[in-house]
């Protein structure tokens, strides 16, 4: 028995080809799955950075932002991560409190993030607005606020993500809270009949929407750009809500225990550069954090105006989270 499992382990080791001969220093960047996937920015970022750093950039992935933070917290001070890329501002308060991150010491220029930036530990690399995406050919009467959505006929169905297991889900929770404060439970009650179901993550929800299960899905204002640019399909659109849209700002930070702190700094600088930023729109399908020289790619709708942007500070988001979740659960469990 033991011999068999040892053999299995050995086989797996050879299979995964774990260790490549490494004369160059290895920069470990932890990120979420879709960033490092073949269709995400990962491969191009790796190539571009390796061209200038004389190092080997290695991605390590976790499911999404929250799983990423949990993973880093599990590893603690023993972590071999240099940079953690892919948390968002709903997580940074917890991340800061963990004491695992070091100050980046960078003052970003030409920042295109609405509301400015002054977090000493984390730097934004992209951002977007949560929004309900619909199919123009299927949905004729589009709601333009949570109240309109609540008032729509019950046959209008949305699919949302669970805040406990997904980043957009948590975003929606805080969106309603930021827009309606104490009235949030009321809004949730109004939305309840329209919520077809709640999924574990974005992929399930978006997949169900594309298969025609629901009329609208919680995603991003930039989602239609994907269909337009990559699939030449202009049927998808994001419903713009009068209350404004909650922002997701995705950030990266340097680990206090980074084995290669200088390389990590170099990577963060590279992250704010035109080269990295210009990859973002059509690989991560979000807005770049820095204004691009040539502007956004054709097909990308201009972001809605900054005065429509809703966001809680990391501290406020962390403080509001648990109560908002309880409200959400009780409103939707009736």
């Amino acid at each position: 028995m033991i011999r068999i499992s040892l053999m299995a382990a050995g086989l797996a080791l050879t299979l995964s080809g774990a260790s490549t001969a490494a004369e160059k220093p290895v920069l470990n960047v932890y990120t979420y799955d879709s960033f490092a996937s073949d269709w995400g920015p990962g491969p191009k970022v790796e190539k571009a950075f390796e061209a200038i750093c004389d190092c080997d950039l290695k991605f390590t992935t976790a499911g999404d932002g929250a799983a990423l933070l949990a993973r880093v917290q599990l590893e603690g001070k023993r972590s071999k991560a240099d940079v953690v890329l892919g948390l968002d501002t709903n997580l940074t308060a917890r991340a800061a409190k963990s004491g695992l991150f070091a100050a980046h010491g960078i003052t970003p220029k030409n920042l295109a993030v609405p509301g400015g930036w002054n977090d000493p530990l984390f730097l934004p690399f992209d951002w977007g607005y949560f929004a309900f995406v619909y199919d123009k050919t299927r949905l004729k009467t589009v709601p333009h606020s949570f109240r309109e959505l609540a008032a729509a006929p019950d046959s209008l169905k949305i699919v949302i993500e669970d805040p406990r297991s997904s980043t957009p889900g948590l975003g929606l929770l805080l969106w309603v809270k930021a827009a309606y404060g104490d009235k949030a439970p009321e809004i949730w009650k109004g939305l309840a009949p329209h919520i077809l179901t709640v999924t574990k993550g974005w992929s399930e929800a978006y997949g169900m929407f594309l298969k025609g299960e629901a009329d609208m899905v919680l995603s991003y204002t930039t989602s239609p750009a994907y269909h337009l640019i990559a699939e030449n399909d202009d049927s998808k659109a994001a419903a713009i809500f009068d209350e404004g849209h909650y922002m997701q700002i995705e950030v990266a930070g340097k680990m206090a225990t980074a084995p290669h702190p200088a390389l990590a700094d170099k990577f963060l600088k590279f992250m704010m550069s035109e080269k990295f930023q210009s990859l973002i729109p059509t690989t991560n399908w979000m807005y770049p954090a820095v204004a691009l020289k040539d502007g956004l790619p054709k097909g990308f709708a201009a972001p809605i105006p900054a005065d429509k942007a809703l966001i809680m500070s990391p501290e406020a988001a962390q403080a509001a989270r648990d109560a908002a979740l309880a409200e959400w659960q009780s409103a939707l469990s009736q």
Partner: protein
């Protein structure tokens, strides 16, 4: 008869104990590790009790329905011989080995708001079907578990000596008489175990329950565990919830054990079962209707997966082949490991004088049924991280955990066969002083080979489709096929993902069928 004194410690017992210890360490031990790593005091939240309640109620209903529906299906399959029966039995097993996300999308393609049935309803001016909620959860769980229940019951039918059906024919028994005299005792013997197994599978369900449950009402314990890790980073709570899941598992196991009457029967001559009680056209029509309905229920979603997948196949690039290769290798390692563990446990349990140790060893093999993959993964991660790069052992860990997760099903198939060998040929082998390898190769293996083939195939297929713990250990450059599929979905590549899903379904089934055939091949 005076019993000859026999040394209590035998190699079989040692191997069995070792295997049991490994399973216990992976399932219970990881809970302890997670609890040990907890910083905050261990306590449950108010929502957790609601989760326990929902988990129990949906699992009870799902398991009851799955097993109840399996009775007429297994009966029809047991008493009808027809062309393509073997293929049907194999295909009916497919939902059980499907990755959750694929199965859910397949189900929705039939039952969903945008599915086939709704399309027909809407065409006739009716409202589309709404399955979300409790019934959706139950529907999905029946879809997953009806095939398993049918297989478990069919095994019961196959254990009936062929003479009994001939005897029944000679005594002029009607279908009702046969039901009372032969079939009901079988059900009595196998139903409680099947029910408990499926109950536990439904207890540990998470994404299915959430997606089809229609909202946070449908929170299961496993989701609460996930939340504790990911949302609250509260490992104490995760460990407590995992313990709660184990206690439910224990309760179910004890109940099943008390209800099951072990109808230890003499093995028959293995004749093909011909039946004279069910020749009436009405009876035949009934069975045809049952098999037809169940095939439609189980195969229509699969067909939709296939239909949608075909369009996506062209969009896949070489990366998918590498992922497929990795998955197949992991599945083969995992299946080999499952077989080794099951044989070790089975040999210890089926010894002639197994003693009081046996039930404990056998239960240990089933521990993983109530285990939380999330807790196993996290526990292993905490243990291994200080020593090795998680990505380097990702595939090995996946193979190991998948092996342990499939072990209960392998044991279900293997242990009865091994007991059978021991009771029938054990004395003869003892008298010839056959021991060790020779005895296994010449006496045990030929008899258990079909069961071993089935168990290995099932383990391989389950491993193929399972995301398992690999997510936590994942090496971005060495994704398995299910992970690759999720990555496609996470990158808007839904059509390509459908293609990958089809590939996954076909390769899982092919692996299962290959092992199953190998088991049944003579020679």
């Amino acid at each position: 008869m005076a019993e000859r004194a026999e040394p209590v410690i035998t190699p079989a017992l040692v191997a069995g104990l070792g295997a049991a210890a490994l399973v216990a360490a992976l399932s219970l031990g990881t809970v302890a590790v997670v609890a040990w790593a907890a910083v905050s005091p261990m306590r449950l939240g108010a929502g957790d009790w609601a989760a326990v309640k929902f988990t129990l109620s949906q699992a009870l209903v799902s398991a009851a329905l799955s097993t109840a529906l399996a009775v007429p299906v297994a009966r029809a399959l047991a008493r009808r011989q027809f062309r393509g029966r073997g293929l049907l039995v194999t295909l009916l097993g497919a939902p059980f080995i499907l990755p959750v996300i694929v199965a859910v999308l397949g189900l929705l393609a039939v039952w969903g708001r945008g599915g086939l049935i709704s399309a027909v309803l809407v065409h006739f001016g009716l409202a589309p079907l709404s399955i979300y909620g409790f019934r959706g959860v139950v529907l999905a769980h029946v879809f997953f578990n009806l095939p398993l229940a049918t297989r478990l019951l069919l095994q019961g039918w196959q254990r009936v000596p062929g003479e009994h059906f001939l005897l029944a024919a000679q005594l002029g028994m009607s279908s009702r008489d046969i039901n009372r005299v032969i079939e009901r005792p079988i059900l009595r013997a196998v139903l409680p175990g099947a029910f408990a197994t499926i109950f536990l599978l439904c207890v540990t369900s998470f994404a299915v329950a959430l997606t089809l449950g229609g909202g946070p009402r449908a929170t299961t314990i496993e989701l609460a565990i996930y939340q504790a890790f990911r949302f609250d980073f509260d490992m104490g709570r995760a460990a407590l919830l995992a313990l709660m899941q184990f206690s439910i598992g224990l309760g179910a196991a004890v109940l099943a054990w008390r209800l099951a009457r072990d109808a230890a029967q003499d093995p028959g001559l293995g004749r093909a079962v011909r039946r004279w009680d069910c020749l009436h056209p009405l009876s035949r029509a009934g069975d045809v209707a049952i098999l037809g309905a169940v095939s439609l229920f189980l195969l229509a979603p699969l067909a939709m997966v296939g239909l949608r997948g075909v369009m996506g196949l062209g969009l896949l690039d070489a990366g998918v082949l590498a992922a497929l290769m990795r998955s197949v290798i992991v599945a083969l390692m995992s299946a080999g490991l499952t077989l080794a563990l099951a044989l070790a446990l089975g040999a210890a349990v089926a010894r002639r004088r197994a003693g009081r140790m046996a039930p404990w060893i056998e239960s240990a093999g089933h521990l993983s049924l109530a285990a939380s993959p999330m807790v196993i993964g996290t526990g292993l991660f905490i243990l291994l991280y200080p020593f090795v790069d998680p990505a380097a052992v990702a595939l090995a860990v996946t193979a190991l955990v998948n092996a342990v997760m499939s072990l209960p099903f392998a044991l279900r198939a293997l242990v009865p066969a091994m007991r059978h060998v021991q009771s029938v040929e054990g004395a003869l082998a003892d008298s010839l002083d056959m021991g060790g390898w020779a005895r296994f190769r010449l006496v045990t293996w030929p008899v258990i080979r079909p069961a071993a083939g089935f168990a290995t195939g099932l383990a391989a297929a389950l491993s193929m489709g399972d995301l398992g713990v690999v997510a936590l250990f994942a090496d971005p450059d060495a994704a398995t096929l299910p992970l690759y599929l999720y990555r496609l979905m996470g990158s808007y590549q839904m059509t390509a993902a459908s293609g990958a899903a089809l590939l996954l379904v076909v390769s899982s089934l092919a692996l299962f069928a290959a092992f199953d055939r190998w088991g049944r091949a003579t020679g």
